[in-house]
């Protein structure tokens, strides 16, 4: 072959490559996963590529979690960033309000897509009546117990207190129950059982309600009167006590499973029914991760198709079984492999009494004042009523500053 021929062949090959590339839609996906979750999402992306037979190419990019939200807020409104990104619902309200970040996708959705999800999941992706993303997976707390200490998990709070009292010996640092009860996220399960809310349907702050006060009193009963919980709880304290076998039961989420010591034989059960709240079950908050189409994507339809694939049964099975996520697609829980997995099953059982955490931007203003209020009550510096009234006033002040008229 002469030189000219070689050049010609190379040119033809090169042209062929570029044409081939130009036909495939290139999608960029951002996520903050590591380990098995990262490997699985990459596998799902590859699967999508092969299903599209060269018509789509997906590039996944893992962003360190602590920089992730800011990176999205900074890049997408300025026309940069990914086509699709995965994030939990807590930032959604803020991104919608500040604009030019998440693309509404309700227009693309068909009835089948609407119906494929577990109950409540799509609500988390809906802000003020508009759907902005498809839910992918959920997390909530549930009851985790040490089988060596607790034979049968309690069905209701009366049983819970009875079992816990038998296990508690404060002098040797042993307790029946431990969870991060001063943290509002963990407390919300009790609050929801009593019917307390943070915001009403119109978005008005209703934090300071008799129901929420009652839920704090219930928590104080366990802590003070029954004495079944340790003081000053924190994530590390709960985890180390459970691993040392010093506590029988904890309320915690799927992120905690990996931290349990291999020496502990643990079981999972649905959170108990609260007898004091008219036999209503504890309803923990759900953190739901969704896939969103970026408002500055150049190929929104193709991006939505990929998002729909991520939420499909096929991707859901992969993400659940290999990525250890609790996928939102209802169909996967009929699969034998999922149904026989005790961890996936336990958190799926908890879902029947759980509700999405509010996705309003105002929610970030709630955490700190309420935590302060809970600490005050626990330390006996204030009554539930007064502490909650103060917290609600502080939150309302911040919200009013944000809702400034033009």
């Amino acid at each position: 072959m002469g030189t000219i021929q070689r050049i010609l062949v190379a040119a033809v090959l090169f042209a062929g490559m570029t044409i081939g590339k130009a036909q495939a839609t290139e999608l960029v996906l951002w996520h903050a996963y590591r380990g098995a979750e990262k490997a699985t999402i990459e596998k799902v992306a590859k699967l999508y590529e092969s299903k599209m037979a060269g018509k789509a190419k997906v590039t996944t990019l893992a962003i360190p979690y602590d920089a992730y939200a800011d990176k999205i807020s900074a890049s997408i409104p300025r026309g940069k960033g990914p086509d699709v990104f995965i994030y939990a619902q807590d930032r959604l309200g803020g991104w919608v309000e500040s604009g030019k970040t998440v693309e509404p996708i309700g227009f693309y959705m068909d009835d089948a897509t609407h119906k494929q999800f577990l109950p409540g999941m799509l609500d988390a992706m809906t802000y003020k009546g508009t759907i902005y993303g498809l839910p992918l997976n959920y997390k909530s707390i549930t009851l985790i117990y040490n089988k060596a200490l607790v034979k049968t998990p309690p069905k209701n709070t009366t049983e819970l207190v009875k079992i816990a009292k038998a296990l508690t010996d404060a002098n040797s640092g042993r307790y029946g129950l431990a969870y991060w009860y001063t943290n509002f996220y963990f407390h919300a399960a009790l609050m929801n059982a009593f019917g307390g809310r943070v915001f009403d349907q119109d978005g008005k702050l209703v934090l300071n309600s008799p129901e929420t006060v009652a839920s704090i009193k219930q928590m104080m009963k366990w802590y003070k009167q029954d004495g079944i919980m340790p003081t000053e709880p924190s994530e590390t304290l709960v985890s180390s006590m459970f691993n040392e076998g010093k506590v029988g039961m904890v309320f915690n989420g799927p992120w905690y499973i990996g931290e349990i010591s291999p020496n502990i034989d643990y079981g999972l059960a649905v959170l108990p029914v609260v007898d004091e709240a008219g036999k209503k079950p504890m309803r923990p908050w759900l953190t739901i991760e969704g896939a969103y189409v970026s408002a500055s994507s150049k190929q929104k339809e193709a991006a939505y198709d990929f998002v729909a694939f991520l939420a499909s049964e096929e991707a859901g099975l992969l993400l659940s079984l290999e990525g250890r996520q609790l996928h939102t697609n209802a169909a996967i829980y009929n699969d034998k492999r999922v149904a026989s997995d005790r961890i996936l099953k336990a958190f799926h059982d908890q879902l029947s009494s759980a509700e999405p955490m509010p996705n309003r931007a105002e929610m970030t203003m709630v955490w700190s004042p309420v935590t302060t209020a809970m600490n005050k009550v626990v330390k006996g510096n204030s009554t539930p009523e007064a502490a909650l009234r103060e917290a609600a006033a502080a939150v309302q002040e911040s919200i009013t500053a944000l809702h400034k008229g033009r």
Partner: protein, 642 residues
């Protein structure tokens, strides 16, 4: 004496250059102002038509709606097209190819999304009882080609959107600012003439000639600007008349067609002429009347957006004038010419500094003068400007404590409380750092000390460990039930302390952690300085009969001063802004009482989303530190030896 040499000694050049720049910038600004007024006027007319259409089809069935839409398009040649969208339906369109009514196509998704956006905006404004979201969207991508979208209400219920496209660049719409270049040129030469007679001394202080030059500058600039402002107001009034005429013409057409009655009552509000939040502007009455006397104040109101920029231009002009008549400009130019290579060499670094330091810094300060929050950051910068209100809210809030029956309750959210804690925090930390560092350095400096190298490494260790790890370790040690500190206390039969519950004990946790972190730096600095003190000075003092204390007092301390002072200055700035320790150890507990200024600013920005307020907070921190730095350098004069 030749003329150029003579002029060089007068205020001729100073006044000439500064006025030239000021007048040119002002002229450009007024031209832009007229364009802005024309734009506003076009948008008002477009919004007026769109509001009218929306009202005219607010209770009609589909066929009647389609008919009215077609008719209304003929009312004004400026209207290019009209569409009405309800849910996912295209109800009516003036474009025959659209073949309305039909379902929206996939590429018409933006219409559906816009409809949802306006519905949400409306509901949010009602639900929160505060008007903060625009319900009218006006886009003008090419001059004159305007697209207005607004809610389509059917029997009072939100149903969809109405979208109108206009082409509004007819000559009648354009009111011009009659430009005569003579006035500014006249002013300019007058000022030059005056400048030629003013002879400022070359000394760097005020003299009558300099004052007169400033007065001449202000007189000329302000006269010109005032004259232009008056003209601009006139332009607005004329524009308003055009809008009123257009309104009356259209309203009569609607009246004749029987779509909407024309209310002939000058006291009734005009519901067509609204702002982008659908609130009546109240600039023309329902009968189209407008009295110009009334408009004096309103015109001034409508043209005042230009005033802050005028002030900025005037300040810039005075700055240039002062630079020249004080001779700085000439010296700067000479220095620049002499060291041109030096400036070329530092240019890359300067560009980097500008992009990474000065620009964000300037942006932060600019942000402090707005009311930016998460919810309105997409609005144009000008609409968010509020002046000094943030600073007034921060510095003017003296609600420091409350007297109740139980005694005084401190308001921990107050700026002055946080400032007090910050100062206390800084002083106690620097004191501990310097004292411990000094004692350890003295110990390590002992002659013949065995294992000095090992001690030194061990003592530097706290500094080498990332400070957030140290912070988390200390936080664990202060745990009331399981922390090592309380367990040690209990070993000695003492009561455990709930560290994060009390204001004082919580403060101590932060100071203890930061003390641990800060002494190694001081120790290293002092050790270095100690080793550079010549031994013979001590020997001479010993011969003179000075005791240990006198040697310390009169040799060691004075010779440490030049090293110690800059180290303390640095350390104060670091500690003042020591975010990690407060945030991670006590988190400002209890109830935010131990927050320092930076952690507070962080919470305001990232928990409460009050970006502008947090920026103002940070600006105040910067000013405090700047004042401190200047004060420190002046008082000590220690840095002069460098």
């Amino acid at each position: 004496m030749k003329l150029p040499a003579y002029l060089k000694r007068t205020a001729f050049w100073g006044l000439g250059i500064s006025l030239l720049i000021t007048l040119a910038l002002s002229a450009w600004l007024f031209r832009a102002g007229v364009n802005e007024l024309q734009l506003q006027q076009r948008h008002r007319i477009a919004v007026m038509h769109a509001n009218a259409l929306s009202l005219a089809i607010s209770s009609t069935d589909v066929e009647e709606t389609a008919k009215r839409v077609r008719e209304i398009q003929k009312f004004d040649p400026g209207i290019e097209s009209l569409i009405v969208v309800k849910g996912t339906q295209l109800v009516a369109s003036t474009n025959a190819a659209d073949s309305a009514p039909r379902q929206l196509k996939r590429d018409e998704k933006p219409l559906y999304d816009l409809s949802n956006l306006l519905r949400t905006a409306r509901e949010t404004n009602r639900g929160e009882g505060v008007v903060r979201n625009k319900t009218i969207w006006v886009e003008e991508n090419k001059p004159g080609h305007i697209q207005v979208s607004l809610p389509y209400l059917l029997n009072g219920e939100f149903a969809g959107i109405v979208q109108m496209r206009f082409n509004l660049l007819q000559p009648a719409m354009n009111i011009r600012l009659e430009d005569s270049g003579a006035l500014p040129i006249l002013i300019f030469f007058g000022a030059l003439l005056v400048g030629g007679f003013l002879k400022p001394t070359s000394e760097r202080r005020m003299d009558p000639a300099k004052l007169m030059a400033i007065a001449a500058f202000l007189l000329s600039a302000l006269f010109y600007q005032q004259q232009r402002l008056d003209r601009l107001e006139q332009v607005w009034v004329n524009g308003n008349r055009v809008v009123a005429a257009n309104y009356l013409e259209t309203a009569e057409q609607y009246d004749r067609a029987g779509y909407l009655p024309l209310v002939r009552d000058p006291a009734s509000a005009n519901l067509w002429d609204t702002d982008h939040y659908q609130r009546p502007l109240e600039l023309i009455a329902a009968d189209g009347s407008s009295t110009d006397t009334e408009y004096g104040a309103k015109a001034a109101d409508r043209t005042s957006f230009i005033k802050p920029i005028l002030w900025a231009i005037d300040i810039l002009g005075i700055g240039i004038l002062l630079l020249i008549i004080f001779g700085y400009a000439e010296r700067m130019y000479a220095a620049f010419k002499q060291h041109i290579y030096a400036y070329v060499y530092i240019a890359p670094a300067m560009i980097g500094m500008f992009v990474l330091v000065f620009f964000p810094f300037a942006y932060g300060i600019a942000l402090a003068f707005t009311d930016t929050t998460l919810f309105n950051e997409s609005l144009p910068f000008q609409e968010r400007l509020i002046g000094l209100a943030n600073f007034k809210a921060i510095l003017g809030d003296f609600n420091l404590y409350e007297r109740t029956a139980d005694g005084i309750i401190w308001n921990y959210a107050n700026f002055y409380w946080t400032l007090f804690i910050t100062v206390l925090w800084t002083v106690s930390n620097v004191f501990i750092g310097v004292t411990v560092g000094f004692l350890l350095a003295m110990a390590l400096n002992t002659e013949g000390l065995r294992g000095k190298a090992i001690y030194r490494v061990l003592l530097i260790l706290p500094w080498a460990i990332p400070n957030y790890i140290t912070a988390l370790v200390w936080r664990g040690m202060f745990h009331p039930q399981f922390g090592v500190i309380n367990q040690v206390l209990q070993m000695f039969g003492l009561e455990p302390v709930k560290w994060f519950d009390g204001v004082v004990s919580s403060f101590i946790t932060g100071v203890a952690t930061n003390g641990w972190l800060s002494f190694p730096f001081m120790m290293v600095v002092i050790l270095g300085a100690l080793q550079s003190i010549p031994r013979d000075m001590y020997e001479a003092a010993e011969v003179e009969g000075a005791n240990r204390w006198q040697r310390l007092r009169f040799i060691t301390l004075p010779l440490l001063k030049p090293t110690l002072i800059p180290a303390i200055v640095l350390s104060v700035v670091w500690t003042f802004n020591m975010f990690n320790i407060i945030f991670l150890v006590s988190g400002g507990e209890p109830a935010g009482a131990n927050e320092i200024l930076v952690t507070k600013a962080y919470k305001l920005a990232f928990e409460n989303y009050q970006y502008a307020y947090a920026a103002a907070y940070s600006t105040v921190i910067f000013i405090i530190l700047l004042a401190y730095g200047v004060f420190q350098t002046r008082v000590s004069k220690a840095t002069e030896s460098f």
